[in-house]
Structures are given as C-alpha cells and as structure tokens.
Symmetry: C2
Subunit: 200 residues, 2 copies
Amino acid sequence: MAASAGPEIERLIALLSKMPGLGPRSARRAALALLKRRDQLLLPLSDALSQAATKVRTCQICGALDTQDPCAICQDQGRDPALICVVEEVGALWAMERAGAFRGRYHVLGGLLSALDGIGPDALRIGSLTARAGAGEIREVILALPATVDGQTTAHYLVETLARTDVAVTLLARGVPVGGELDWLDDGTIAQAMRARRPA
Amino acid sequence: MAASAGPEIERLIALLSKMPGLGPRSARRAALALLKRRDQLLLPLSDALSQAATKVRTCQICGALDTQDPCAICQDQGRDPALICVVEEVGALWAMERAGAFRGRYHVLGGLLSALDGIGPDALRIGSLTARAGAGEIREVILALPATVDGQTTAHYLVETLARTDVAVTLLARGVPVGGELDWLDDGTIAQAMRARRPA
C-alpha cells in the first residue's frame, strides 16, 4: 500500500483502515499525520488506546462501557431507579446522554434481533433486561431503538416479553425531527407525524 | 462529548478526532469500534503506534519515512542514482511508488513555498536538494509538485535555484487524467491538454 515504507508503517495503515470511517486512502493520510506529529498525537494516542484497553470494561448491570463496574450511571443515586431506557448500542446511550433528556438508567442490548443475520434473543442482553424489569423496582421501560425493520422487530419482541412483568413499556415518539424540512423527509416519517399530530 | 463514559474514553475520542478524516462524531464511532474489538483492533493498534513512534525515522538524505536511515529507496542499488524526483510530502512519494512509474530516488521538500502562510525557502529541504543536485552524480531533477498556486511557485523557485547546477530540471506532464471525462474537467486542464497535444 505504501511501498517500501517499512513493515511498521504498513501495519499501522492496515490497522487504521479497519476503523469505521477510514478507508485505505484516509488511513494512509491518518498514518502520515500521526507520524508527523509524533509527540503531540502518535504517542498520546498509543497511550490512550492501551489505557482504554486495560481500564474500560462492560457494566455488568446495564452493559455500558466505563472504567468502573457498575458504571457511573448505574451507581448515580441522583437518577431515577424506576426508569430503564433500552438502547441498541453504547453509541445510542451516549447520544441519549448528550441530549440530556433522560435521568433514569440504561440497558444496552448489544444489537438487534435479525433473522437475516441469524441474531436471536439469546445473542442479546434480553435475559438480564427481563430480570431487571421483574425485580420489582422498575416502573417503566422505554424502548429507544432505531426506527428500522430490525429495530421494530426487536421492540415488538421486547413488548411481548415484558408483558409478563408489570412494568409499563413505552416507545420514543415519531415525527418531524428538529430542523426537518418536509421536502426532505421520507413519506413514512410524514405519515407518522400526521397520525400523531397534536393540538397546537 | 460522551457524557459519563469516563476520562479514558473521553481522551481517546479527543485524540481520535484530531486525525484527518475523523470529526467528533466519527471519532466516537471509531472509539466504540475499537473498544468492541479490544483484542483484534484496540491492542494491536496501540502496539503498532508505539512501534511506529520508536522505529520510524526521517531519512537524512531524502526526507522519506522509514525504519532505516538512509531509507530503503536511497539504499536500493537497483535504482537510478542519477534521477531525483522532488515531492511535497511523503504521501506524494508513496503515491508515486504505487504508480510504479519511477525508478530513481526522491527528495521530500516537507511543504511548499507559501507567502500567505509565511513559508520561505529556509523552512523547506531546499538546501539539501541543491547540495545533492550539485554533487555531480545527478543528471535530472523531476519536479512532481502539485498543480496549485503554491506548487507552481515552488517549482518556479526550484527551477531558478537549480539553474546554477548543470542538472536538467523537468516537470510532470499536464493533461486529461486517465478516465477523465471532458465534461467534468476544469477549463485549465482542458486548455493545458490542448496546448500539449501530440500526434495520434
């Protein structure tokens, strides 16, 4: 790829190109940028990666990533222990936290049900979710899953599974996103927003 | 950025977002991908970065990056020692090597002259280029600089500087790129290709 640049650079480029968002070309650019900024970027990044590898773990309760287990959110006494927000992945949990619109706790499924990819309920953290929901402390489980086929299939399955417990199960609202122009929205979103219209 | 994910993850995301091609959003995605593939990606990348930091250095002759100094290209006896190809950066050297159309040696300037950015001849590896060109072994210096204002300014300056030596100075040809449709080409390229037309 970078002919005669030595095996160390080749290996660095090969690994960088496995990161999402970086193809072979941008991985080369990134490797060069790192090598040019050895002390400001290359060494700190190497250190940050090894720190993350040793210190970051998965929360045994909710499945989030943190340096402590249980994670800071599960330990936070200021959060409502009666609310669980179910998300597909840690990235969605972070997005929810950035929005700052939820002050309960989380449950990370680790994926979505998918017949095509052969992902069944046992591959996800569903058992631990029903156990948490059935333990008596939980009042409401909010399904914050993506508005995709797999997301809806998973939500449907969870609604049925959680029906055995006596917690309320809710879904995120659908509608026109903030800043969304009708021209650019898909028909499904417009139809959902119309059906869910509310008094002004 | 990733609220309550712990300082290690925050730092990793901050460093990743400094890489070219990764913004804050894709840096978060990359960090998650790394943390999910700890043994296959996170640890090997950390190791590759520290290996690169300790082993890769700048060739004292041509300015390329390699684990040996002089670099493999400068040491390669199969390459024509009478040809020097001048490039802006190591990335351009790699691109030239991938094209496989040059079997001489290189000289990496480390940038381009730029009045706007205050980059003068002393900030570039021009002194060592004229020293190499004047040492008697060199027959031709090929200026493979970008077709930008700064690239052309730098080429012009090098042509004048190298006129004091008795090496031939040449420039890469300009014209329609392979696969280039005239519809999509800028006027300047079309005009240059027309002026430099050749018999069929």
